[in-house]
Symmetry: C2
């Protein structure tokens, strides 16, 4: 697929996702965080275009480098800090897969993206570690031997010749995004299909917020778990499940949103996955 | 300037402008029109990126062709109709000027953009006329000899060898955008400076909405005049002036917004000019 087609689809996914509201706990067009506003997300979505475009032209090599470049561009264009680290982790290999494919059918893209991830090498792993401090991403400190803020861990990666795929396999048991990246993007494509299904009888905004709530109800958000602990992430999951089961009433979504915002709990990993799902849905024909 | 730098600055201007609220009468992040929603503007802003990028690489030739291409991409990516015709009219020559310049200082860009407009030819004029039906733009029908929906007018342009500059000179007395394009982008750069000034002590959203209100108070909106007549456009101007003079109170802006939305009055030309002003302000350093 044409690189500008791919880059635009990925960028539009970023914009649609951040604009959807109410999206319990996360930045949307009606809610800013203290240090990170809706406008920061707009600027970051604009900033990463050339990197998404490059990904679509790369035919599969340099995943780690492009993630780092994407994060660098993002923070160059806005002062709101980390906006799109998780989203870029998913978008870069998917954009590479789309750029290297003639078809955007699910089996084709899924196979190609998985292959791209399996083919990552030690340089990709090192580039990812270089991107962490740029994005100031919160990471689990108890995996001491691979502490990302530690220069020694880069040595370790080099010595053990760990690929990006290897590194993400270590974090997959506790990290939603890593699990997607090493597990064949299963949820990404499932949620792309769900959004495409929702959009048949809902406006785009509802299709996105309902898909997001579905995901919260299905899976504990990694970002919430790391920042607030397992009890909180379980609570968010159960609360989301209750609302989804009762039929997504707008007032309930708003209440839940309000509750999470007051508590400062932002399910960022779930939002990242919805971005990736929207990207696939747009490639496959979603249009406003 | 680098083409991706230019294209991103122009795209971010489109996104910042449409997101700013309340913006009396126009689509913003909290207001859709019946047939054109905020999401249509997002999709259109994404759609035009490759054309903005091409403009920055072109070094001054093909203004008309790129405007037509921009409009075509815009309507390919969304079903909301005309979103960015007026904005593209201003952004294309300005993006060309930025792409062809080493500096983004006002005198440099202003001179270069004016020169690009003066150098337009009959092909540029014909391309603009081709873009009108694509965008389904409302145009003044009383300039019979150059009715844009009329094939004969294309003949007329060819016979008289009218350039795009010539055509716009005809519409300049009654059209704000044409006046900018043939008059050296005077208001565009003045409002860029105003926004840069406002942003020193206001959040971005206010800087944009206040600049927009300033413009409404200064100049009758062409779009309103053509669609609703001179009485209405004068009223909008006076009403805006009252609010600006009293210090831009939020409640007054919201009331005015509500009033115009109920009446279906959208000052589209003013919004287009604010996009162009934001583009210049971003090139010159505005950052969230």
């Amino acid at each position: 697929m044409d690189e500008d087609q791919v880059a635009r689809s990925a960028q539009l996914a970023l914009l649609f996702e951040v604009s959807a509201y109410p999206k319990p706990g996360n930045v949307d067009r009606t809610h800013d965080f203290m240090d990170t506003s809706y406008e920061h997300f707009l600027a970051s979505s604009v900033a990463v275009y050339p990197v998404l475009r490059e990904a679509a032209m790369r035919k599969g090599r340099g995943v780690g480098e492009l993630i780092r470049k994407g994060v660098e561009e993002s923070v160059k264009w806005q002062h709101g800090g980390n906006t799109h680290f998780g989203a870029l982790l998913l978008l870069i290999p998917l954009a590479m897969a789309a750029g290297a494919s003639d078809s955007c059918a699910t089996p084709v893209l899924k196979y190609r993206a998985s292959e791209i991830m399996r083919n990552t090498d030690v340089e990709d792993a090192i580039e990812l570690y270089r991107a962490f401090p740029v994005a100031k991403v919160r990471v689990r400190r108890d995996v001491a031997e691979l502490d990302v803020m530690n220069e020694a861990s880069l040595e370790e990666i080099r010595n053990k010749q760990l690929s990006l795929f290897d590194i993400l396999t270590i974090s997959a048991p506790y990290d939603l995004i890593s699990r997607e990246l090493v597990g064949g993007f299963e949820k990404t494509f499932r949620y792309a299909a769900l959004i495409a299904d929702f959009i048949r009888d809902k406006p785009l905004n509802e299709a996105i917020t309902h898909a997001y709530l579905n995901l919260l109800a299905e899976e504990e958000d990694t970002f919430v778990k790391m920042k607030f602990g397992a009890e909180k992430s379980r609570y968010v999951k159960e609360r989301a499940k209750g609302i989804a089961d009762r039929g997504y009433r707008r007032e309930e979504l708003e209440e839940f949103d309000h509750e999470l915002i007051i508590a400062g709990i932002n399910p960022g990993s779930s939002a990242d996955l919805i971005v990736a799902a929207l990207f696939i849905a747009i490639l496959q024909g979603l249009k406003v």
